[in-house]
Amino acid sequence: MLDADTFDRIREPRSAGRLQPGAGAWHRVSRRYLKAQLLSYGLLLAVVVVAVTVATLVLGQPWPLIPGTIAVVFLVTMLVILPRQVRAIGYLLRADDLVLRRGILWQRVVAVPYGRMQLVDITHGPLDRHFGIAQLKLVTAAAASAVSIPGLDQAAAEALRDHLVEVAENRRTGL
């Protein structure tokens, strides 16, 4: 259920000094998440390019070229690193906690005990719905925890939420 249509393996940094949070049944995110992200950044890029072109050529205004170029450089960079970034997201369900890893250049591995979860939240925008994916967020009493797993298959997101709520119920503690 959790591994339907996901990436085959988690992408890690190549350097020997990388973080190695340990082996285990790491789950990956849906392949469709990459498509959705590429599409949304691609659309944004198209809008920016069209707007700047129209402003420069049709209206004869040269100044939009400056913010336009910055935006295009940023968006193209995002499009290039997205496939790597998305493949680096992984989560691991252990006996008493959930571990989430993200990032290649900036690696971050967070462990959240099930008993610390205050609520589990599923969100999906229109584009997400079209691709049948959703984002799952875990909220603890600490804002810094910021655990969100994007790009889960919708069925997987709901199964995961039900699982998390169930295990959290058995381990609930105070703040």
Binding site: P13, S15, A16, G17, R18, L19, Q20, P21, G22, D96, D97, L105, W106, Q107, R108, V109, V110, A111, V112, P113, G115, R116, T140, A141, A142, A143, A144, S145, V147, E169, N170, R171, R172, T173, G174, L175
Partner: protein, 521 residues
């Protein structure tokens, strides 16, 4: 909604029924705005009224008040004294009715499960704080209310803006209600040896109170503060604080630059310098009359010269502790102690800030006594070992896991001090050479823990450890620790945190037989 067990409450106001606060409450709450309005009106009319009553004081030939359209002139000219008095009377009547209604609609009750407050005339509000989530109870006596013998209670809840305020009450009522709330929240009634529930009645009440005193159930005298801060030390500590020095430097530099021909610099330097100094004076005033003492229901923290605040922090409500030492305090060996705790109000940053300081300035001995109250699980020898290693520059035979030699370029000054240590159920982080810091996180309160690594750290095969706690001034982060060692430490901390949280019973601290939710399930 169950009424609280009569054996557990002392105040007639906490019997599970709705009660009203002291009748003067609306005046104290809305009174400030009214005073300001009245003050502005009086200030503007002062000379008019003075010359009206004592016309001979008026300088001859002063015609500046004789402007057409002035309402006071109009009243005098048309002899409409009755109308004016009626108008004034109407304003007063409306105010009085408003205040009376506000008072009538403002009620509170304390039940066996929660504390509730209803208020508002047009826009009704109903706040409720569940007792098993109480994070603390503050008793504040603002300057004006102190003269009237009144106080307000604030029950700190778990959520953001989850505080419930009972204002204003007679001081005695406020104190007994606070004790009641804490006793109910402590889970005493769930304890196996709970007092048998007897019928109420005055005689029974009195007998219970007396036996309570005899049995030591309620301490007749409050325990004294474990630290005694001399005013001299508080003032000196403020003077040696970097913010004071920064403020003075800004002022002096501003004056010198201004004297050299750029006077406009004063517009920036003077407010900035005075702001910093004013902040220091504020901190000083708050730290006067500071006290911290143990009570059966938690740690009692008292402070404030003009507005006095007493807070009771029940056990297990401390999420992180930080000891810091500015450079100039080092010769005296002083430290300041701050904590992260759930404050319930995000907006009141100033208030949250003052409650987060649990020791404004103290010696290592005093720090140890305060920490003994805040983290009772950390017993004497362990605490002293931790402090010895954590406060020194770099002790011999260091129990802390520090930055490896190969990565010293990432922490050129602090690499031997920058370290982390897991001590059974406390995570300690040691940072800084110039500005020394030691952070302690009780693992029973840890929310989550992260390992982080950027490209530079990866080159040196090191990584950082971030412990996430509730929002507050203490930041529990450490960087540049050996990758393998810190990964192992991360696993250990997580395991220890799960164990500590499962064994934690502090949400019902007086209930020795309380089960953890896991055992109940």
């Amino acid at each position: 909604m169950t009424a609280p067990t009569p054996a557990l409450v002392r105040s007639p106001l906490s019997d599970g029924r709705w009660h009203r606060p002291h009748p003067i409450t609306p005046l104290l709450r809305g009174g400030v705005a009214l005073l300001v309005v009245a003050g502005v009106v009086i200030a503007n009319l002062r000379e008019r009224l003075l010359f009206l009553v004592l016309p001979w004081l008026r300088p001859p030939g002063d015609e500046r008040w004789e402007q057409p359209g002035d309402p006071v002139d109009w009243i005098i000219a048309n002899e409409q004294y009755v109308l004016a008095s009626l108008g004034l009377l109407a304003v007063i009547v409306v105010l009085v009715i408003g205040f009376a209604l506000a008072w009538r609609f403002h009620t509170f009750r304390i039940t066996g499960d929660d504390v509730e407050v209803r208020s508002g005339i047009l826009f009704r509000s109903h706040r409720r704080a569940p007792l098993d989530r109480v994070q603390g109870v503050n008793l504040t006596r603002p300057f004006v209310a102190r003269f009237l013998g009144l106080a307000k209670l604030e029950v700190v809840g778990a959520g953001t803006s989850g505080n419930v305020k009972l204002e204003y009450l007679r001081l005695h009522d406020a104190e007994t209600i606070r004790a009641d709330i804490l006793r109910l929240a402590s889970g005493l009634e769930l304890a196996p040896d709970a007092v048998a529930v007897g019928p109420g009645g005055l005689r029974a009440e009195a007998a219970r109170a007396i036996s309570g005193i005899v049995d030591g159930d309620e301490p007749a005298v409050e325990s004294p503060s474990v630290v005694d801060l001399p005013v001299k030390r508080l003032v000196l500590a403020r003077l040696l604080d970097p913010a004071t020095i920064g403020g003075v430097t800004t002022l002096v530099a501003g004056l010198i630059v201004a004297a050299c021909g750029t006077p406009w610099i004063l517009f920036g330097a003077v407010p900035a310098g005075l702001g910093l100094l004013g902040y220091q004076v504020q901190v000083l005033l708050r730290s006067l009359r500071f006290g911290i003492a143990p009570t059966p229901d938690g740690v009692r923290i008292t402070f404030g010269l003009l507005t006095s605040v007493t807070e009771i922090l029940p056990p297990g409500r401390v999420h992180a502790v930080e000891l810091t030492q500015p450079l100039l305090w080092r010769p005296a060996g002083w430290w300041t102690v701050r904590i992260n705790r759930v404050t319930g109000n995000e907006s009141a940053q100033g208030g949250a800030d003052q409650l987060s300081v649990v020791l404004p300035v103290g010696t290592v001995e005093e720090v140890a006594r305060v920490l003994g109250l805040l983290l009772p699980a950390l017993d004497g020898p362990r605490l002293h070992a931790l402090l010895d290693a954590g406060l020194a520059a770099h002790p011999a035979d260091d129990p802390f896991l520090t930055t490896p030699r190969r990565a010293r370029i990432l922490r050129p000054l602090t690499w031997r001090r920058n370290g982390v240590r897991l001590d059974v159920d406390v995570l300690a982080m040691r940072r800084g050479v110039v500005w020394r810091q030691l952070v302690l996180v009780p693992l029973a309160r840890l929310q989550s823990i992260a390992l982080v690594q950027g490209p530079l750290a990866r080159r040196f095969s090191v990584a950082g450890l971030h412990a996430h706690t509730v929002k507050g001034p203490v930041i529990a982060k450490i960087g540049s620790i050996d990758r393998d060692a810190v990964t192992a430490r991360w696993h250990e901390v997580e395991t220890a945190a799960i164990t500590a949280a499962a064994a934690d019973r502090s949400h019902r601290w007086a209930d020795a037989g309380a089960q953890t939710p896991e055992e109940r399930a």
